[in-house]
């Protein structure tokens, strides 16, 4: 496909054992601690999940406790893209453009059923999961998720950030889409994950 597939790294390749010195591991710890506790979210709210996201950011649940009080309404100063709500096809290039405008290091949270899988909108207009457009780190289930659910997803992302190692160069590789199809993942895979499942297999189709 000509796609630049990212190697799945379970172990960090640091050369011979012990070559990762005390200084670099402590530096990793320091940098990751700083990053994980000051994630600036770029809210990309398109539907009811955005309401729940606003509740998460407001005083009762207070996202600021996790270092996220500063909503970045510009992708250029953002660390984590929180896609809250369904994404219609017309919005897909816009979401892709916003993701490409965010500087590294960057992460993505897909909030809610619609952003993660298309949800109940298995129709001609809605993208079946934003992971077909941009890479996603954490999926938050729910319709919409409660603020506790989103905060749990954010804490999962913080755990992920804290486990990163600078020796792992592949983490910061910017994935380039295939120039012909503009897709990150192969088209047959997209068709496979977008197949209807559950009740939507039996939904009425036009017999004409």
């Amino acid at each position: 496909m000509g796609l630049d597939t990212r190697r799945v790294e379970t172990n960090v390749d640091v050369g011979s054992a012990g070559s990762e010195s005390w200084v670099t591991t402590k530096l990793d710890f320091l940098v990751n601690w700083g990053r994980a506790n000051s994630l600036w979210p770029m809210p990309f709210g398109t539907a009811c999940c955005a309401i729940e996201f606003m509740a998460t950011a407001a005083s009762k649940f207070d996202l600021a406790r996790f270092g996220m009080e500063r909503m970045s309404f510009s992708p250029r100063q953002a660390d984590v893209l929180i896609c809250a709500g369904r994404v219609p096809f017309k919005l897909a290039p816009v979401l892709r453009r916003i993701w490409q405008q965010m500087p590294q290091p960057k992460w993505c949270i897909s909030m809610g059923a619609c952003a993660s899988s298309g949800g109940m909108f298995d129709n001609y207009a809605v993208v079946q999961g934003i992971d077909t457009i941009i890479p996603v780190d954490v999926y938050v289930p729910g319709c919409p998720p409660r603020p506790e659910g989103l905060m749990y997803g954010i804490m999962m992302l913080q755990e992920k950030v804290k486990k990163e190692r600078m020796a792992d160069k592949s983490l910061r590789n910017e994935m380039e889409p295939d120039p012909r199809s503009q897709l990150y993942i192969p088209p047959p895979l997209i068709d496979e994950v977008s197949e209807p499942f559950g009740n939507s297999v039996h939904q009425t189709r036009s017999g004409l």
């Binding site: 096809f89 290039p93 453009r97 298995d122 889409p177 503009q182 088209p187 068709d191």
Partner: protein, 234 residues
């Protein structure tokens, strides 16, 4: 702005004594009183008015397709009708393949506090063309574009008939037609490939993106400030 703005009192054309609006109760299903405009239309246009239905006290008038623009113009202009508000233009297609597609106009008369639904029938096999009412109601602009986008009905006389909800390069057809599959005609990857190959700006026409045209509409002072090199915004 040709006329000065005056507040519209609903129902003021009926006379000096206007009953306060209240929620209607005990509405009959079929035997309601028809809107007096239906009878006036019959008297004025004769056989161009094909049928009058009263359902839940709302009057539906089926009219001849060729004379829609003329009828709406009369309803808008005639001092005894004064339908000054077009609230919706849409279409209906039924599952039954033999039933024609209906195009629907919702007209409201604020001075007489009346509501009238106009319908015209487009039989299968005929071209899906109806007259546009854009020349009478400017609000018909986007509603007719939406109706074209979703059903493929062309509005003859519309100044700028193109897609409004789907992007302009959309190739799969007209989504609200009964022969359109719910998930679209193409596979998911093909749909994504087509939309991601577009620029985000590409769904707007050059007219919408052009700032040069808007320059002439600025005030003289603003134009001078811009010519002097002042930057506004980003």
């Amino acid at each position: 702005m040709s006329e000065s703005f005056l507040p519209v009192l609903a129902g003021h054309a009926e006379g000096t004594e206007v009953a306060a609006p209240s929620t209607p109760r005990n509405i009959p299903y079929r035997d309601g009183t028809p809107n007096p405009s239906a009878e006036a239309l019959r008297a004025r246009f004769g056989e161009a008015v094909q049928r009058v239905d009263v359902v839940w006290d709302e009057t539906t008038v089926f009219v001849d397709r060729a004379r829609v623009a003329e009828i709406v113009q009369w309803l808008h202009d005639d001092p005894s009708q004064r339908y000054d508000y077009l609230s919706d233009v849409t279409a209906v297609e039924y599952r039954d393949v033999d039933r024609p597609i209906e195009v629907v106009w919702h007209l409201r008369s604020l001075p007489y506090r009346r509501f009238l639904r106009l319908k015209t029938l487009l039989y299968k096999g005929q071209p899906l063309v109806v007259p546009s009412v854009w020349a009478i109601y400017k609000s018909a602009d986007w509603m007719e574009r939406e109706c074209y986008d979703m059903f493929g009905i062309r509005f003859d006389g519309h100044p700028d008939l193109r897609r409004i909800l789907m992007w302009e390069q959309y190739k799969e057809g007209f989504p609200l037609r009964k022969d359109f599959p719910l998930r679209g005609r193409f596979s998911r990857s093909e749909q994504l490939r087509q939309i991601l190959a577009l620029n985000p700006e590409a769904k707007y026409s050059m007219e919408e993106l052009s700032v040069l045209d808007a320059f002439d509409e600025l005030s003289l002072e603003q134009r001078q400030r811009l010519r002097a090199g002042e930057k506004v915004g980003e």
